[in-house]
């Protein structure tokens, strides 16, 4: 089915279809039609679900809203299916049985808004742990952010396998390394993993709630800190959403500097992961020590160019905060060039080590089917043969002006994810060179920031960060944020462990874990 046909058939079913400026078709359907439309878009038309979220529209007398965002990757469009639920009985029929990627989103909406997805195969809590009283729905407008909750003891059972010789291993939430909290429950027979389940949201910060009522400038510091390792890409996704609402045209130099910021972040974090997987994960310590040494150089580059070590503060609504001089751009290109030549010799060293390759190959295989069903994002998806990259499928910032094709691998194991990162580092280097060249030749240093007012409306904003696709939905009302949905790719990728863990042995799990390197903070919003 091509896109035109799809939209025509949608128009027949929906009471309102409109197209927004940032490249999004919005179709409002009846509550009873919502599951059918969403399911057929995913199953029959093969569209991936990239976001599902709820809104509280009771102030306007419309009850609650549920929105499902699908990607029309070939046409470079997004397709948002929305429905209203009555305030007194906010429920709809769950789509998780057909659209597996919806399973965490629906549980999330259930906890945060009290919207029931009837028939959800797993209707346990997700964000709320045992200590949160029933009927606590923090994202409803009538819930004050500073409410002190009573201590409760609601059930939150974890999966358990019974049988002779089957053991449970509880790991975390406090871990031995300096990482964030998350609990993992293994059911094992000897060393072999049978099932594996995660329990997250230990440090839920209420970011979405805190953003409400703020102007976009006030909200940006929160968004940049959603996940400290993806500051530039989160800022980019959010800024593009508010720029789309404001109808703001971002100058070309700013677009290119945004590419530079995101690609510098990608290069740095991919290199960090390379060192972390090959070095710390397997004990091949030479990789870790040298990889982290080179990463440090890129952090210092960030300190010189951004004023901090985390690629923060450059991307702002309307453009960028400073235009960068040619000398600064040359500094970026030279530093990354040097880092790449050292990193490639490290990679050669790694590939020459039989013991290392033995640990990485065939470990933690994620099949293509599983990656598709769970709606995997970023490196996890591309290493399993799913060719999705928002830089190409939904061109943003300056990517539309640069030549870029994207990479995939098919094996889906830890080794494929490592090698894909190496490929993407070399692409990042080329993009950094090209973006710097574009700035030098075709833009002026004085035009780097446009005015971006706070207008009312809603829009999507997206970015392909190093971890994968970030997708935000922002609605402004009366000049301030009414609802901001921040979706880090980690939210989509955490459930993948249930797929790629089983069949492996327990001592290989840290390797699987590092090969995805998901953000706890980006999930515990």
């Amino acid at each position: 089915m091509n896109v035109d046909e799809l939209l025509r058939s949608l128009a027949e079913m929906s009471r309102d279809v409109r197209v927004s400026a940032e490249g999004r078709v919005i179709a409002w359907v009846r509550r009873t039609d919502f599951p059918g439309v969403a399911t057929s878009l995913h199953v029959r038309s093969g569209l991936p679900l990239d976001l599902l979220f709820a809104t509280d529209d009771r102030a306007e007398g419309r009850g609650f809203g549920v929105h499902a965002v699908f990607a029309l990757d070939q046409a470079h469009y997004w397709l948002e299916i929305a429905t209203d639920l009555p305030a007194e009985s906010p429920w709809y029929e769950s789509i998780t049985r057909e659209v597996m990627a919806a399973h965490w989103y629906e549980r999330y909406a259930q906890d945060m808004f009290g919207i029931r997805a009837e028939g959800h195969p797993d209707d346990r809590r997700l964000v709320h742990h045992e200590n949160v009283p029933a009927l606590t729905h923090p994202l409803r407008k009538d819930f004050a952010w500073n409410t002190r909750l009573a201590q409760a003891n609601e059930p939150y059972p974890m999966g358990r396998v019974e049988g002779e010789g089957i053991f449970q291993i509880p790991v975390g939430p406090i871990h031995a390394g300096i990482i964030e909290p998350g609990h993992f429950r293994f059911n094992v027979a000897g060393e072999r993993i049978i099932t594996l389940e995660g329990k997250l949201f230990f440090t839920h910060k209420g970011v979405e709630k805190l953003l409400e009522g703020r102007t976009h400038a006030d909200a940006l510091p929160f968004v940049e800190r959603v996940s400290g390792d993806s500051a530039a890409s989160h800022a980019l996704a959010f800024c593009q959403a508010v720029e789309a609402i404001a109808g703001c045209k971002v100058p070309e130099r700013a677009c290119m500097l945004r590419v530079l910021a995101v690609e510098l972040e990608r290069f740095t974090m991919h290199l960090h992961d390379l060192a972390n997987i090959c070095g710390m994960g397997t004990g091949f310590t030479v990789m870790a020590a040298n990889g982290f040494r080179i990463v440090e150089r890129l952090r210092r580059l960030s300190a010189r160019l951004f004023g901090n070590r985390f690629f923060r503060g450059l991307v702002v609504p309307g453009g960028v905060s400073t235009p960068w001089t040619s000398a600064q751009m040359a500094d970026a290109v030279d530093t990354v060039d040097g880092a790449w030549s050292e990193a490639s010799s490290l990679v050669r060293l790694a590939l020459d080590s039989d013991t290392l390759r033995d640990r990485l190959e065939t470990t933690g295989v994620l099949t293509r089917d599983a990656a598709w069903a769970y709606g995997a994002k970023g490196v996890a998806a591309r290493a399993s043969g799913i060719d999705r990259d928002a830089r190409r499928n939904h061109p943003h910032a300056g990517y539309g002006l640069l030549s870029f094709s994207g990479r995939t691998r098919t094996e889906g194991d830890v080794f494929a994810r490592v090698m894909l990162r190496v490929d993407e580092m070399s692409d990042a280097l080329n993009l950094i060179r090209a973006a710097a060249g574009f700035c030098r030749d075709r833009t002026s240093e004085s035009d780097y920031r446009a005015d971006c007012e706070c207008r009312d409306g809603d829009a999507l904003g997206w970015a392909e960060g190093w971890r994968g696709q970030i997708l935000d939905w922002v609605r402004m009302r009366d000049g301030v944020i009414d609802r901001a949905v921040i979706r880090d790719p980690s939210f989509c990728n955490w459930p993948l462990f249930g797929e790629l863990g089983p069949g492996n042995i327990v001592p290989d799990f840290p390797l699987c874990n590092k090969s995805l390197n998901l953000s706890y903070s980006g999930t515990d919003l």
Partner: protein, 314 residues
């Protein structure tokens, strides 16, 4: 020199230098990775710090947990007393019968395993289960390897086996595979690469460290000291087989006593540099790859034994 004095000197020297050996291997590994690394004397301070620290005992532990540090350290000290490390022909040397030596190490391993289980934590049990798996592969290899040396030297005590050390190996080249096997076993027994990673923080991958995870304070110090002594014992034993020079005997005078610490330090240093090179040049093996590793060791030992028997017939 008095045999009792020989054994005493040996134990004192080995225990004194054991933390230094651990410090050296850490420092050399750091150097090979391009880092500065911690001071080589740090392990001494770590032990002293641990001795002064408060100890936390889980309420689910029994006497086994409290006895294990003493038993494990005692087995390490006993192996330091009976084996020919600094001196040959000490008063404890006749106890270095190959089966007794294997038994001493096994006793320590058993208590370590029980202590891991006793704390009732998930990681301790996991470490214990892995240690038993490894032991099941390691013990036969150890016995077969020592048997090849016994055949070559005509002595069933390790002390006597040293008679064929050094040049003696060249006249009996068929014992060389057993020497390689002993090297593989030493890495396994001491929880070093490629069997275990002594420096990891990843609980799920640990073997030895998982079993001692619940220990703190003075008990942890005893466990750590036991590991250090065991590493030094294996290192010195291997070096002495290849190069049995500078060992004290009943015939040496009191002056040689002064040289013993220096000789021991040089031998330990050389072994630790070699160990650091091995550990820096490879990744840890997949846990399910370990049987192959130990079968390789068993096969090397058997090869020596078979060749030795064959050579005897000729």
């Amino acid at each position: 020199m008095n045999p009792a004095l020989l054994t005493t000197v040996q134990v004192v020297v080995v225990v004194t230098f054991a933390p230094l050996a651990t410090g050296v291997v850490r420092r050399v590994k750091a150097f090979l990775q391009g880092r500065h690394g911690p001071p080589v004397l740090l392990p001494y301070w770590t032990l002293l710090t641990l001795m002064r620290k408060e100890m936390v005992l889980s309420t689910s532990t029994s006497w086994v947990f409290r006895a294990a540090p003493y038993v494990v350290l005692a087995t390490a000290l006993l192996s330091a007393a009976v084996l020919p490390l600094v001196a040959r022909g000490g008063i404890a040397a006749p106890l270095s019968h190959m089966v007794v030596v294997a038994g001493i190490w096994m006793l320590g391993a058993v208590f370590l395993v029980l202590a891991g289980l006793d704390s009732a934590g998930a990681f301790g049990g996991m470490g214990s289960s892995r240690e038993m798996t490894i032991s099941a592969f390691l013990e036969p290899a150890l016995i077969v390897t020592l048997a090849s040396f016994a055949l070559a030297s005509g002595s069933s005590t390790v002390d006597g086996m040293l008679a064929i050390g050094g040049r003696g190996l060249l006249s009996r080249p068929w014992v060389l595979p057993a020497l390689a096997s002993l090297g593989l076993i030493a890495l396994g027994e001491n929880a070093r690469y490629p069997v275990d990673n002594p420096a990891t923080h990843l609980e799920l991958t640990m073997v030895h460290e998982a079993m001692v995870l619940e220990y703190s304070g003075p008990y942890l110090a005893l466990m750590e000291l036991a590991s250090m002594v065991k590493l030094a014992v294996f290192a010195l034993l291997l070096v002495n087989i290849v190069l049995p020079a500078g060992l004290l005997t009943t015939a040496t005078g009191i002056v040689a006593l002064a040289a013993a610490p220096l000789v021991t330090a040089v031998k330990l240093g050389a072994a630790m540099v070699l160990l650091a090179l091995v550990e820096s040049s490879m990744a840890k093996l997949r846990f399910y790859g370990l049987p192959e590793y130990f079968f390789g060791s068993l096969f090397l030992g058997l090869t020596s034994l078979a060749l030795g028997l064959f050579a005897g017939w000729l």
